[in-house]
Symmetry: C4
Subunit: 382 residues, 4 copies
């Protein structure tokens, strides 16, 4: 893994490079958190790590996953499981995508292209945030399979323009995030008076003007409410249907928890939904994503694919999601930890660890592949 | 926010003003607790903060709220939710009232009028305690919507006199507290041998003689049992009916947990009930208020309105209460924290924060207004 | 409260009397634990405080009580509740008895007579252990209502003799403990190599020879297994019936958890059963007593009275037991704490506190007396 | 207990013998953990103590056992319970076996023969791991009842040879471990870069070449996946049937959690199954073994015997397993703790303690023998 970038990039010398001793190699994704905490300025760490409100939903995400007992099957004749997975009609190396996250240059100067390249090398989709700090064309140029994540712009014409740009850049899918009518109140960011450094721009917005979106305070301002902001607040299912009709990419709706909403998304043209509470960053008090997953899977049936995010920290979590019926998962914060601490190489290591863990978990559960894992029985644990 | 009043008001110099460094602005109601703890003498803090007995019910109130998962709805077309709410036939700025709390000059020299004025400015009802340290007329003079809270006096003629005085002062409703046949045993107060300072009087009692009520030890003495005390202990449903007949203000019964009692209250003329365990200050071992809320709502149907108090600490808690069927909530301790640390301005800041949090929570849950929140589904969380 | 006895009685000066500062007056029974811990030598504290095995059942007892939510009723017209209770056909001042505990001179030189006198003054039964360190006649001479607790002697003739002696001494009931076929393995006692001081004798055993019972190591040796020991190990329901026929005192069976056993006890002549896991000191891994109480109450119906012990620490716990159907409770360790720290006066203070707490709890729950509390509804709390 | 062996055996002087003060005698199995932690190099301790992944399953094993409340029966006429138990048609001193564990010379130079001899002296079966650091013939030479544990070798001819060798050595049963298609990811071992010391060999593998199995890193390498490894990965029920036909020893299948798998094992010829998650060392996220035990017992009926392992730490745990229907249990880590801290004598002390605890637990529960314990009722505890 390369030397920590922050020694170069940090504007204020928060960490004295001389005091950093060589770290042992990470053995799990959580190890990257410890590394990232060392190199990131505390307010940036808080921005990445925090949730909204009392962070009760942030905690529920982990607690609920830990309570999912997966019942392994023995003597199934499985040698080395395959991780290959079809999502949205394309094949990927494992049932995992990199969750869309804003302003990745905030944690590492190589930003989005580094993380996308790592995802591409690992054979998994990279979900590029509309709030990326690098233009989408530079992200797709890495050769990764890129899904573009959209917050809806106020001016519908700009949406149309952006859809064309995204398609031309070679993105494979459009992910509409629906759980951000306003930003969740993230108390850590409020306490830190967290602001983006001026050199970071929302590179996918018209003219790169991130101030259109949130005036440089991603954790604080209500992105879509202020009249001057770029994002539309009062979206409806009719808007979603319009989007499906004006976009020839596969459509994914991200940020649902209610099975009724999932069915409506499928009926409005979504080929996949992502069951998510935005990693505990939006409605504090919402249930854990994994708590709602089985109901959503049952409700949508084969009308669309179901992905899960919020709280995934290792291969066993992927197995849990599969066993509860998900087609795959998105991994968020761990990828930022890895990017922060090691750039593209760090992210690659993290994805390789995740693949190793998932392969082992599948083998130990007696599953030849992710599809077999969806037949596993789960047992609630105290 | 003004400088801490206690620098002036404290009789003993517990806090050296020179040592107080400027506090960061509060980002949530809990921040006022930290501020209040700094400025209040420890026994006063304990009086405000404590519960009865082992404080197990005090703890249940929070734990039970944290386990209420609220399932948000997406793409409902909501831009900025309205918080406006009808309670008892009048419209308020949000579904929140300031809970009745005794002797508010104990925590800040401006006392009841300051908190009432903040409530008035925020457009929410202020519930004035019969044990206020300021005459009710000075409270209503702030222009706030005032609901008067009654502990029943032994002499029925005095009750009649007080009802007339309350009506003449312009109060909008009468709140009868029914869960204080005796005071709960508050161990912190007993340990501190807590007593009111002599200059504080029960300004609404005949002759301002608070000794009539409890001899200056609000947390300790059994208010209504001692033969010399002012309050009647053995109240019954017949007394409540008598009150309803002799009072032309809307009647609210506060301090019920049992659905059977709630129905009886409605049948005895109550236009609203407050599901409450008195903030964990009366029967230690009673269930959390929010645990009983759904049953009470189902039992009373449309016979009366149902409010909740005990444990509300933020906008998400209000959303939880609404989702479980409450028409609104009362907020107690956080308002004393804010009053203690910043007087009227502090209380105003707290109410503004609460409104901001509730507005965001409604938006994130896809609700156009509090009524819509009552249709949300809740999910128990581990 | 008198000065701590241990300054005189302690054989080794573990506590320097000069260093003891005046303690604040206890406000609840738990305060006596802190006092007792100060004055007792650590191995004696451990003997009193500890449970068997991993102490999981010891912990369950409290946790299960804390989860019993009691739903109070309002406006029931109750002024000052009465605590008076009929148990075994006699009236007592409250539904509480002092649990049988061995060798009370271990914690205070005044021992059994002091605790019995306090119970007598408080109007509650004192359960005298067969392993008392004072002859039963000196205990009944205090004027207390004494129930005699029996571990079954190997020689049946000695049992007959003892029954006569107990009756002649004026005991009001016979309590047969059935949950000690062997002593639980109390790891603290084993680690401390705890032994009785030589001056303590089992004053009710023939010739005062406590070595007959357990060779001076009450927490360690299997009392009834060793062939040389005084107690009979392999008791059966036939023995219990024989006892009922040879004893003209009311018979209480203490130490049951299983409803089936409770019914058999009633059928064998018991007028009361005590649902108890021996305060977590016998079978580690047994359920909490309060967990089994409702089933036992339902199973025995009106065939016999049901008492509860194990974990009672205050008036609210008594209310919980009553609400779950108990006729009363036994209180153990808190009485030893109070005896240790203040002799008879300390024990009297503890019982007065318990009565105050129970009176307040009944009033707050809307109950005129203990019988009314048995109609209360309980609500499980998370 | 003899002096700690590690003073002699340790290659690096991690523990200075001069600093070791005499330890108090162990009163429970957990005490041996503290002793072992003192004498073992930290990486060896971690290898013994750790689980896979986040160790959530490791924790579930204990938490789930602690929640099993066992309802004791009183007055059953039991004096001293018998512990004698029939397993696989042979009688043992108690319903306990020593779980198979690799490379026991890692924790004590006397290794497998010491532990086997202790088991033999205690009258319980010793399960010898195929990865033993002593040839099986030296283990059976101790006179213990030895059950041989098999990881399946890649070359079927070697399996046949090994079966003959095992039978000739006098082993009483063959235990096939089925939950190790790959090794669980044990993060502690990965962090410690744990490797076997070179002088340790897999003494039962052809030519003693442990590198065939895992290249000296038992906690790390995927034993059976690498093409060069000795163990076969993709086993099936057909292989198990083949084994049953080629082995005239009673067959035990170890490492099942799913009742469906247990039934298949019985149908394939297993005379017993061991419900086990490998002590939390294989699939992290698997349910606690004890959670699945009742279902497995119900599913197999009388088709085969059911044993439990994973988390057993004392006599009460054995009682819990019996009450839930197990015929017996295996005890793993505690035996290594005892071996590490005291060699054969230590292991003997541990087994004697376990027998004492179980005898007391049976007596306290009113059971004459292990079979009676299987009729006990269990009660879930919060």
């Amino acid at each position: 893994m390369p030397r920590c970038h922050w020694r170069v990039a940090a504007r204020s010398a928060i960490v004295d490079p001389m005091e950093i001793t060589p770290s042992p190699p990470p053995v799990c994704l959580a190890d990257f958190a410890a590394l990232a905490r060392t190199v990131l300025p505390p307010p940036v760490w808080d921005y990445v790590d925090g949730g909204s409100g009392t962070e009760v939903t942030l905690g529920h995400n982990r607690a609920a996953l830990d309570r999912v007992g997966v019942l392994p099957r023995m003597l199934t004749g499985v040698a080395t499981p395959s991780l290959r997975t079809r999502l949205l009609g394309r094949e990927y190396a494992m049932p995992v995508g990199v969750a869309p996250m804003a302003y990745q240059r905030l944690v590492h100067p190589d930003g989005e292209p580094a993380l996308a390249a790592a995802a591409g090398a690992a054979g998994v989709p990279y979900l590029a945030s509309i709030l990326g700090s690098t233009p989408i064309e530079q992200v797709t140029a890495t050769g990764a399979e890129v899904w573009f994540q959209l917050y809806w712009l106020r001016e519908r014409a700009l949406v149309v323009d952006l859809l064309a740009r995204v398609r031309d850049a070679g993105c494979r899918a459009l992910v509409v995030t629906v759980d951000v009518p306003v930003l969740g109140r993230r108390r850590r960011d409020l306490r830190n008076a967290f602001r983006l450094p001026p050199e970071l721009v929302a590179a996918n917005l018209p003219g790169g003007r991130d101030d259109l979106a949130h005036g440089g305070t991603p954790g604080v301002t209500q992105v879509t409410v202020d009249s001057g902001a770029a994002f539309a607040p009062a979206l409806s299912w009719a808007d979603l249907r319009w989007l499906g009709e004006h976009c020839d990419l596969p459509l994914i709706v991200k940020g649902l928890l209610d099975p009724v909403d999932a069915v409506r998304a499928a009926e409005a043209g979504a080929q996949a939904v992502v069951v998510s509470n935005h990693g505990g960053r939006q409605l504090d008090g919402a249930p854990a994503s994994v708590t709602m997953l089985p109901e959503v899977v049952a409700a949508v049936g084969d009308r669309c694919e179901v992905l899960l995010d919020s709280g995934i920290r290792g291969g066993v979590d992927v197995l849990r999601a599969l066993a509860l019926g998900a087609a795959g998962v998105l991994v968020g914060r761990p990828m930022l930890w890895a990017l922060a601490s090691g750039g593209q190489a760090g992210a690659g290591t993290a994805l390789a660890l995740l693949a190793d863990e998932l392969r082992d978990a599948l083998a130990l559960a007696g599953c030849a592949d992710p599809a077999a894992a969806r037949q596993l029985r789960t047992v609630p644990m105290g």
